[in-house]
């Protein structure tokens, strides 16, 4: 009887988005994608999607609540970056600190092409 009662009560209460998916599958997909690239601030190697720490659940709750309320994932991410800096996302925005990450591969590719060109030229002779 008490079990039944607690089930009825649970059904009546709003879903706890820290542990329960958004009923709308499209929105849940958006939230899941975003949560996978947000850093858990307690266990810093994990995303809030992977972590079982209370704080990660609290962050998932905020993300799902905002997305369920119709916010865009980009806006939710910006909201968190505004509070924690770009360290909170695994997909940091382009800035002077992250520029080498993006530019180094291009520079290395250029250097490789230049080296290859020199070698090929010599072979042809």
């Amino acid at each position: 009887m008490s079990l039944l009662l607690s089930l009825v009560l649970a059904a009546g209460a709003p879903a706890d988005f820290g542990y329960v998916q958004i009923p709308d599958a499209a929105k849940e997909a958006q939230a899941a994608e975003l949560m996978a690239e947000l850093r858990c601030l307690v266990c810093q190697g994990q995303s809030i999607h992977d972590s079982d720490v209370d704080m990660a659940a609290d962050m998932r709750r905020i993300v799902r609540q905002k997305i369920a309320a119709g916010e865009q994932p980009q806006a939710v991410r910006a909201w968190l970056v505004e509070r924690y800096g770009s360290y909170v996302t695994y997909d940091p925005p382009f800035s002077w600190t992250t520029a080498p990450l993006w530019l180094a591969p291009l520079l290395l590719l250029g250097a490789g092409l230049w080296l290859a060109r020199g070698t090929l030229k010599r072979r042809r002779k």
Binding site: G18, L41, V42, Q44, D54, M55, D58, M59, R61, I62, L80, V81, E82, R83, Y84, G85, Y87, V88, G118
Partner: protein, 175 residues
């Protein structure tokens, strides 16, 4: 091709190894600072945590006098360690408001009875919504809020004896 060019890859590799090696010696724990330091405290309202003490709202700040906003919990061990230093700050005339994270009135009551009660108000943040809202990533953390309601400083971790003068100075500067 010039002969010295042959050494360039080895040199680049050596530099990378030195960078990687020196990072290995640095402890991996990274504190995440709030990006809201220097900005106004966001709007929030927290219900009272214990009977006989009001909750905390944004309106309690920006009253012309700087205050400390202490994020704590009864289940947090460093919070016990910083309690005597918060009491000292209180005795020095500092006004302190608390945000209790994921806690119960009974546990907070017992915590205050055991470790002293420096708080003018204590708000209950059962799901860390306000904690995340102000860019705090753990307990304990202490924010200096200036008289205009702006976050002047964030202290991460427990307040130790040597932090007390620093916090008093920050409160003085935030006047």
């Amino acid at each position: 091709m010039k002969r010295w060019l042959l050494w360039v890859p080895l040199l680049v590799f050596a530099v990378l190894m030195v960078i990687a090696g020196s990072r290995l010696l640095v402890p991996p724990q990274t504190v995440v600072k709030s990006a809201l330091v220097g900005k106004p405290l966001p709007d929030f309202t927290l219900a009272p945590m214990v009977a006989g003490k009001p909750g905390v709202t944004r309106a309690d700040f920006a009253t012309g006098k700087p205050r400390l906003l202490n994020v704590f919990a009864s289940w947090c061990v460093p919070c016990i360690a910083e309690a005597p230093h918060l009491m000292r700050l209180r005795q020095a005339g500092v006004e302190i408001d608390g945000i209790a994270i994921r806690d119960t009135p009974e546990a907070i009551g017992a915590f205050l009875a055991r470790n002293g009660d420096p708080y003018a108000r204590i708000g209950s943040d059962g799901q860390s919504q306000v904690q995340i809202g102000i860019g705090s990533s753990g307990v304990p953390e202490t924010f200096v809020i200036d008289g205009r309601g702006r976050i002047a400083m964030q202290h991460i971790g427990d307040i130790r004896e040597e932090d007390v003068p620093r916090l008093l100075q920050a409160l003085e500067d935030a006047r």
